[in-house]
């Protein structure tokens, strides 16, 4: 480290301390993020965590409780992990399991991991600890002994994971086992089926199998992580032998980031929309100066760097991320390139919203969020210009701004590394999302042509199918409770395991709403959960995806619930409205449907509908199909 670096770090600390003492949270948060990106390490981490502690009154993170079960020293990774989580808006509380005590901790029903009810558990164990035979004693084994060892270790894993799943609802992230840098048989190892590397890989394939069979269990490919940064530089044998830390100092942050890629989606910290700049981001050069012929985009250098960015964007599009453009260009020139340039991999219709003008980008981003019916925190922003990035960070701190390196050849990698788009499960809705937004634009065009709102609703030819939760929809239902912020009356987040438990609970009823209209299938977009006790039904959860807000589908769903409750003999239907910074669209829901306010506490207000004297009329323009069992009375 040179003196200049020390001075830069000191000036970061001075600026951050000043912003914190002035209570300027958005400046402090953006500087903390920048400090971390430039100087990740133990000292920065402990400074960051202390600063976030001071910002607590104005910092509004998601809390996530993590337990790390391990067979090696992970302590130095934890503060790095907590610092990167904090920069990503997550207040991560971590407990570490006993050294090499993971098996007891998983198997013992009285283990503290089952008493603390964490959100997530990481099982970070190494090949040399779980199967030392395959790591250092491989040459001693006969082919039969190898096969038996593989089978035995998988049986142990299965036992640990089953014990865990039967006692905990937390997500479980299981590390794969790494292969050795130098196999004991040298190059011969690659020639035989029962080689050392292949045996370890077959354990990893078995782990994937177990994870696929068990809900809420995910694989973290530790072996691929080590390979990504280099097997030869990842390890520090001296520290392994002295303090049981197997990973070299400069690689610890990579493990922390890898864990964070799992924690972000599990904590509900993910972006739904990627907003991109055009000049020098989606293509090389400036449309207004270089023109259609002069810009760089194509299969060869230097245009290939931008095709790689577009390929990464297409991959995100297929994963359900909505794409949008926010750029300072002459719209005609930019649209010409988007629509007709032969080097473009992306097509104009794949962008759900376009803001190509000379306005301030912060304002454009707010408009894009409003047009797509999402909060600004659902946006991620990709722009090659550091000034624009800093401007957006300072003006709309909720937006996730993706940091880009200097060389365009590295842009695609930076985009792929952004953990805000990570997802652990892909629903059918995710895969089709891009198309939904295309249809949404057609709907908006129709709305502009309709004379009254009723006309517009009728012309949509809406159909709602309201049914129970099915095994294949549990993932989507859990996702709806995790991700829906705007039309959500109580904003209670549930895991898949909790949804499953409620679907089996006779006092609970779950209503899943699927919507269709003349432009296409919107998929599963609405959810209500009710609980019955004595003569009363309480609405625990009621939400609508932002994709269908403002189309009266919520009234259709409420009508079905009221009817169902009445048929079950309930005299009253009640529900809480819990206000959040984002759920204003749902604020008037109960009052507009004839509920009366009967209570209030610091969390929200309680509303009541007298089912003996009132009913809810389903809107005549929606064809409703109900497929649920008779309620038990």
């Amino acid at each position: 480290m040179n003196t200049r670096a020390i001075e830069t770090q000191d000036s970061f600390r001075r600026d951050i301390d000043l912003a914190v003492s002035r209570g300027d949270a958005s400046l402090a948060l953006s500087l903390l993020g920048k400090f971390w990106r430039e100087y990740p390490g133990p000292a920065t981490a402990s400074y960051l965590l202390a600063s976030f502690e001071e910002l607590r009154p104005v910092w509004n993170p998601r809390v996530f409780q993590l337990i790390v079960l391990r067979s090696f020293t992970v302590e130095p990774v934890i503060s790095l992990l907590q610092a990167s989580a904090a920069v990503n808006g997550i207040d991560l509380r971590v407990e570490i399991g006993g050294f090499n005590a993971y098996a007891q901790e998983l198997l013992d029903p009285h283990s503290s991991i089952y008493e603390t009810a964490p959100d997530g558990v990481v099982l970070a164990v190494q090949t040399r600890d779980v199967v030392p035979q395959l790591w250092s004693e491989f040459a001693d084994l006969s082919p039969a002994a190898i096969a038996q060892t593989v089978e035995e270790v998988l049986r142990s894993y299965r036992g640990w994971i089953e014990a865990f799943r039967s006692r905990s609802r937390a997500h479980l992230i299981v590390h794969t086992l790494e292969i050795p840098e130098m196999p004991s048989q040298g190059i011969l190892d690659a020639q035989v089926r029962e080689g050392q590397c292949e045996s370890i890989r077959s354990i990893n394939r078995g782990l994937l199998q177990i994870a696929q069979e068990t809900e809420g269990v995910y694989v973290l490919d530790y072996d691929a992580l080590v390979a990504r940064f280099g097997r030869g530089v990842w390890h520090d044998e001296g520290k392994w032998l002295s303090v049981r830390l197997p990973i070299a100092a400069h690689c610890l942050v990579h493990l922390a980031h890898e864990w964070l890629r799992y924690i972000c989606p599990l904590a509900g910290k993910s972006c739904k929309v990627l907003v991109v700049d055009l000049d020098n981001t989606l293509w090389g050069g400036v449309a207004g100066e270089d023109g259609f012929e002069g810009i760089q985009i194509g299969p060869d250098y230097p245009g290939a760097a931008y095709q790689a960015v577009q390929r990464a964007m297409l991959d995100l599009y297929h994963r359900g991320v909505v794409l949008a453009v926010c750029s300072k260009n002459n719209p005609a020139e930019a649209m010409e390139i988007l629509a007709r340039h032969p080097g473009m991999l992306l097509k104009p219709q794949q962008f759900a919203a376009l803001r190509i003008n000379w306005n301030d980008k912060a304002r454009n981003l707010r408009e894009i969020a409003a047009e797509l019916n999402v909060g600004v925190e659902a946006l991620a922003f990709l722009d090659d210009n550091p000034v624009e990035r800093q401007w957006v960070r300072s003006q709309v701190p909720e937006v996730s701004v993706i940091e880009l390196p200097k060389d365009p050849m590295d842009y695609a990698r930076a985009l792929r590394e952004a953990c805000v788009f990570e997802t652990l499960k892909l629903s059918a809705e995710d895969r089709e999302r891009g198309k939904y937004y295309e249809e949404q634009r057609q709907r908006q065009d129709l709305k502009r042509g309709s004379s009254s709102l009723e006309d517009f609703y009728s012309s949509l030819q809406m159909e709602a199918e309201i049914g129970e939760v099915k095994p294949e929809t549990i993932a989507r239902i859990g996702q709806l409770t995790q991700k829906t912020n705007q039309f959500n009356l109580t904003t209670r987040r549930y895991t898949e395991q909790q949804i499953k438990a409620m679907s089996l609970d006779p006092t609970c009823r779950l209503y899943a709403l699927r919507a269709r209209d003349r432009f296409g299938d919107n998929g599963l977009v609405g959810l209500a959960i009710t609980r019955q006790r004595r003569g009363q039904v309480e609405i625990d959860t009621f939400l609508m995806s932002c994709r269908v807000i403002g189309r009266t589908l919520e009234t259709a769903l409420l009508a079905v619930i009221a009817d169902d409750a009445h048929n079950a003999g309930a005299r009253r239907l009640s529900g809480w409205f819990v206000p959040t910074p984002k759920n204003a669209p749902a604020r008037e829901f109960y009052s507009r449907h004839g509920f009366t306010r009967t209570g209030e506490n610091e969390q929200g207000s309680l509303w009541d509908l007298d089912l003996e004297h009132r009913t809810i009329q389903s809107p005549p323009w929606i064809r409703v199909r109900v497929c649920i069992k008779e309620a038990i009375s």
Binding site: M1, R4, A43, T44, S46, E75, K239, H250, L252
Partner: protein, 86 residues
């Protein structure tokens, strides 16, 4: 000189141990700095390795019991490039 190895180690130590610079002296040790426990010692080692681009052996780690000892070890290692701060 603000850029001597001793000065840089002191500054790094203040960051790791979260104590003011005037509390970290050349003779400081785990006995004089309360937050210098075994975990923070490991963090100090890792931070020094990253910023100086070196790797300490288990023996060296065991000898790093005062700021002075750390400076001595770093000097003996012969740093790749002692940037004199432009």
């Amino acid at each position: 000189m603000t850029d001597s190895i001793a000065e840089r180690v002191r500054r790094i130590a203040t960051g790791i141990f979260q104590v003011p610079l005037d509390r970290v002296l050349i003779q400081s040790s785990p006995e004089t700095i309360e937050t210098w426990d075994s975990l923070q010692h490991l963090n100090l080692v890792l931070e020094l390795e990253q910023v100086f681009g070196v790797r300490f052996s288990p023996d060296e780690m065991a000898q790093m019991v005062t700021v002075e000892a750390i400076v001595g070890i770093l000097e003996r290692k012969g740093l790749p490039e002692a940037d004199s701060g432009s």
